[in-house]
């Protein structure tokens, strides 16, 4: 479902990764590993289309990326003055998919905080909201950048559940530094250099 052909990304005059060939097919869970600064997030952003590759190309399943692709990254900010619920409603309207506000928020345990503006959320709550936004349209491809960071026990279990579901629908790619999280993958890609 996700194919990278000779993918390379250069920042300034330094290649973060190059000649990267990979194929992730439905039902697979890929973990992208590597020390800090090895390019996990960069690769994930490139796959998500947030960064343009310096060379090579990325193939995603047909269809509108807004609905076929879910991405949640650490350095992706939320709208400080929009409430949790408003985020989901906006996202639903923009991607023309069902907002499912109550269902999703109950699931990640943010229903009580639905009216809290994002700037008042705790780090873990922010991570949960981003997860919601990523899975809202039941995407075929789910890209998670360190989903477990700053999540508590129950949050981590939640991620496992979601991972299980996701592979029934499509594939999952996780960039992580967490030895526990690493275990939920069926495949690994090590960018360590």
């Amino acid at each position: 479902m996700v194919v990278a052909e000779g993918l390379g990304k250069r920042f300034g005059n330094r290649w973060i990764f190059r000649r990267l060939e990979m194929e992730v097919s439905a039902g697979q869970r890929l973990a992208i590993l590597g020390p800090n600064g090895s390019g996990k997030s960069t690769l994930l952003k490139t796959l998500a289309g947030l960064l343009s590759p310096t060379e090579g190309k990325v193939r995603l399943p047909e269809g509108d990326a807004r609905r076929t692709l879910g991405y949640s990254g650490l350095d992706m900010a939320l709208y400080p003055y929009l409430s949790v619920a408003e985020h989901l409603e906006m996202s639903g309207a923009l991607r023309s998919c069902a907002a499912r506000t109550e269902e999703l928020l109950n699931r990640v345990g943010l229903w009580m905080a639905r009216d809290v503006p994002a700037r008042q959320l705790s780090s873990g709550m922010r991570a949960r909201l981003k997860l919601c936004l990523a899975i809202q349209p039941d995407p075929l491809v789910l890209l998670l950048d360190e989903p477990g960071a700053s999540m508590d026990e129950n949050g981590r279990n939640l991620i496992w559940e979601i991972a299980e579901e996701q592979v029934r629908r499509g594939c999952l790619i996780v960039a992580t530094n967490d030895p526990l999280e690493r275990r939920l993958a069926t495949h690994e890609l090590d960018l360590g250099n």
């Binding site: 947030l50 990254g73 350095d75 900010a77 400080p80 408003e86 023309s96």
Partner: protein, 233 residues
């Protein structure tokens, strides 16, 4: 998808962006206030400048015309680019790029800016006329010029804001690259306002209004496509 439902989808997306802008604006109050402060203080400055003068003395109308236009120009530069700059400053740009389509984003923000700008025009016009006591001989021309003038400013400045938003010194850069683009409608804006203030050297207020409208339509027409082109850079 049938065309009607297609249009409905577009409408919803644009509305979603628009709603977002409105909510953020009124909860976090950022853009407009600066514009208002500026226009207020400027107009008072001008009123001071024309202080104990009767502004209907010949060629003061012309000056008034240019002053009004300058105020609108600067106010727009202070206010309009923010809608795009803020996205990058607060780091929500990525989220937007994931969820939305460029045309929806552009139109949502443009509509918001249009409303902002027209309100500003109204404010400036009322205050200016009130404080300087200048006589408006042709209210219709005035209205037309402010309306189309505001729109053309919105078209150009919003786009420039979008283009500058990913750069290091966004705020200043946005101003720098939009001023020259909005400079030449100035000629129309000013001449239109002169006509409205019944200046003697007035040259065709309607042509001015037409010129401004054309400019507005053009910039608003091209804008979204250019934005769509740089959308994911």
């Amino acid at each position: 998808m049938s065309s009607t439902s297609e249009t409905r989808v577009w409408r919803d997306e644009v509305l979603a962006i628009f709603k977002k802008e409105v909510l953020s604006e009124f909860r976090g109050k950022t853009g407009l206030s600066t514009g208002v402060v500026f226009s207020l203080s400027t107009i008072v400055t001008v009123a001071l400048a024309l202080f104990n003068k009767n502004p209907n003395k010949m060629d003061l109308q012309d000056v008034c015309a240019s002053l009004v236009w300058i105020i609108l120009l600067f106010a727009s530069l202070l206010t309009l680019p923010r809608s795009f700059l803020v996205e990058e400053e607060q780091g929500t740009g990525d989220l937007l790029r994931l969820l939305a389509r460029p045309h929806a984003v552009f139109w949502g923000k443009v509509i918001f800016n249009l409303i902002q700008m027209w309100l500003l025009c109204l404010l400036v016009a009322v205050l200016f006329i009130g404080l300087t006591g200048i006589v408006v001989t042709e209210p219709l021309v005035l209205a037309a010029c402010l309306f189309s003038g505001g729109a053309s400013l919105v078209g150009a400045v919003t786009l420039c804001g979008a283009i500058a938003s990913r750069a290091a010194n966004r705020a200043a850069l946005a101003g720098a690259i939009s001023i020259p683009l909005v400079l030449f409608p100035t000629q129309w804006g000013v001449s239109g306002l002169r006509e409205a203030f019944g200046s003697v050297v007035a040259t065709g207020g309607n042509t001015a209004a037409i010129g401004l409208t054309a400019y507005a339509l053009l910039s608003l027409g091209i804008g979204p496509w250019i934005y769509a082109a740089v959308w994911k850079q």
